[in-house]
Symmetry: C2
Subunit: 430 residues, 2 copies
């Protein structure tokens, strides 16, 4: 283990350039900490001309990323191209087949093909590491795979998308609406030109699927995640949340129920007195509840050059140290193939906001629809008269089943006095 | 690596019994996750008769703990006796000399002899693991050694003692004084009969010294820690803190300054808007600031049977997986022998509470003493008249040097109108 570890990096975007910088900045330190020198041997990226502010002298440039998988002088391929298919997938598969170790930050790839890739890595005795795929700089994969290995995880949840958390935080702080804040976030570089991956919850769902597989020893099941984004959260809901003692967060949550594995990504009402309510801006946090350790939470920057590079390099050092274990803790052949608990079976409390015509009998009709499904109200807030004639009515309920709530809401939506589709936000207790 | 890992446990108090329970409860799961079976072969404890609610059938009982170090059928010795010397130290040394791996929860031992033990372990190629020594169930040692290995740590700080945090939280919530709350905590089992290790900050200092060594690659230096406990914090100070936008926490803090390594344990004023201000009760939290990852924080239960056992078992699984690396990340011979930055050189802001005779000229005299040391005030609060004639005066200062503050306070203490020793609490900015 005193030989140099030779590294090939595919993808030199923000993260790839960050890894090159970190390896250079801490060359001596990492050699000392990793027990052997880490040497960047080759890189590959779409455009060689792009300005990146990194020194690649002495580093081989491969036009074709796949060449990194074949290069006999490379021990570990670092895949930072992204995307669930295409070159990224071909590169990872080819590298693993060639018996090389793979470090990747690619949550989409793992969310869709995690179990297969884990099996492939195991077959060749290679390491497949992906700390950077979830929650940026927070070493949460290591915590789950190793630090909390003595626990059966009962539940996990987290703020997994910094863009959404930044938007929700800014909406609350400024009172502005989603569209305005999103546009500002795009201008400031906190949101992509096409923001749908983030604001529609897909990115968070990818990460949740990877976390769930790691924590519960199940095959990564992205298709089993119930996903809703934050587009429908209004500044009015954020104000009501505050009034009711909550903060609205886009959470990813997973637990095992008697119906299977429940995985959900959607806006949540989180009680103000819980720690996760205070994770603001671009920060991420992941809470793990284990049967022996109890409640734990890990927080830090969920994206960005430095934090993500920190996670990638931690994986590279693990490779240098020869830390080989199954990608999802238990051998791939032993990963459970549990079915997804259907969302209809979800049990929880709800926040419902209706816009109603301010006329007699509306509340009675709404109450009747809820009562018919045996949903009991916890509180009701009605705002004073409005000039337009439409006023918000906010209901919070005690625990009920999602199917009942959806049936009641369908009935309520059909009431003439209800002006637009009701806004539903699930209330989470921790 | 498919052979059973054979374990000997010394010490069957709360933590030892917890480890026995956890190993039994998750026997199959741990075998799957650790890649080999974990088998408890032998135990040793002071009293064999004590009721422990654990099943030790088929487990050998050793009268002498040291026999575990000699037993040819034991691969890893788990030291849960405690104490910086005595049997614990002899056992760990003997086990390492015999080429066995050692897992320990003993912060006192590591704080005083960490560097020597690390060297001993390395010489024999043994693993010395101590996740349970710091912050209970929070996998913070692993985070520092591995998850954040790509960073140069600029600063770390944390709530490292659950007893103190419980007392401070309860004082704030109930408005009661230290002595009353301590007595209650003792009755409830949250504080020891002799509470001095906890409330005088020694336990936190042991843990800080271990964290510092791990984070900065320096020889563990307990003697270099400046230690103050929480006995002098009054409910009046807690109220003033709230009024000024702070919460009082006993923190351990470490950073590298131009004078050496600064390590401090003392009560701090922490701004209410920082996450660590909201870590309450028996919970612990450790914040790590790295040059690439930025700010991270890890929280969870800092003590108790389940959380500590979780940490011990994580180390045992690491041993099962053959994860061998130097105890403090870099080889023992390369650990830096940096000197402690003297407390006099500390630079920070201060909260000072005086009890003064309510008479003309006092404030002028106090202000003069501060001005003479070029300390500038940030705020001053004076409470209205009192019947006894003594009123609290609270000052907060801008950043200044500890030596200046101490000189000014010495002068202020000598003022006739100042009734008791001033209360000084350092204000921390994060």
């Amino acid at each position: 283990m005193t030989e140099t570890l030779k590294i090939g990096i595919a993808g030199l975007g923000t993260v790839g350039a960050g890894v090159v910088k970190l390896l250079a900045a801490h060359d001596r330190l990492l050699g000392l900490r990793g027990g052997r020198r880490l040497e960047l041997v080759a890189v590959s990226a779409r455009s060689r001309a792009r300005k990146r502010d990194i020194d690649l002298s002495g580093v081989r440039w491969e036009k074709d990323a796949l060449a990194l998988a074949d290069a006999p002088d490379i021990d570990v391929v670092v895949e930072l191209i992204g995307g669930s298919g295409g070159v990224a997938k071909r590169l990872v598969e080819r590298a693993l087949r060639a018996g090389k170790h793979v470090v990747t930050a690619n949550k989409a790839l793992l969310a869709l093909h995690g179990a297969d890739l884990a099996a492939l890595a195991e077959k060749r005795g290679s390491i497949l590491a992906f700390e950077a795929a979830v929650a940026g700089g927070i070493p949460i994969i290591k915590a789950l795979r190793e630090g909390l290995v003595g626990n059966r995880v009962s539940r996990l949840y987290g703020i997994l998308n910094g863009t959404c958390n930044y938007i929700l935080t800014t909406m609350r702080e400024t009172g502005r609406d989603f569209d305005v804040v999103l546009a500002e976030a795009q201008a400031a570089g906190y949101a992509e030109a096409d923001p749908s991956f983030d604001v529609d919850g897909i990115d968070a769902a990818h990460k949740l699927a990877v976390l769930t597989g790691t924590a519960f020893g199940t095959k990564v099941d992205f298709a089993g995640v119930h996903v809703e984004g934050i587009r429908r959260v209004t500044s009015m809901d954020i104000e009501f949340a505050q009034e009711l003692g909550y903060r609205i967060k886009l959470l990813g949550l997973a637990r095992e129920t008697s119906y299977g594995i429940e995985q959900r990504v959607h806006p949540c009402m989180v009680p103000l007195e819980t720690p996760i309510a205070h994770i603001e801006g671009v920060f991420n946090a992941v809470a793990i509840e284990g049967d022996h350790v109890g409640k734990t939470m890990f927080q830090g920057r969920g994206a960005g050059q430095g934090p993500t590079a920190s996670a990638v390099v931690a994986d590279i050092v693990d490779v240098a140290r020869g830390r080989n274990m199954p990608a999802f803790v238990v051998p791939a052949a032993r990963l459970a193939d549990k079915k997804a608990s259907p969302m209809d079976r979800h049990v929880g409390a709800y926040y419902i906001r209706l816009m109603v015509q301010d006329q007699p009998g509306v509340i009675a009709a709404v109450s009747k629809a809820l009562a018919a499904e045996r949903i009991s109200l916890e509180s009701m807030l009605q705002r004073g008269r409005s000039q337009s004639g439409e006023v918000p009515v906010v209901l919070t309920t005690h625990e009920t089943q999602e199917a009942r709530m959806q049936r009641a809401l369908a009935k309520i939506s059909r009431l003439k006095a209800v002006a637009e589709a009701p806004c539903l936000i699930r209330i989470e207790a921790f």
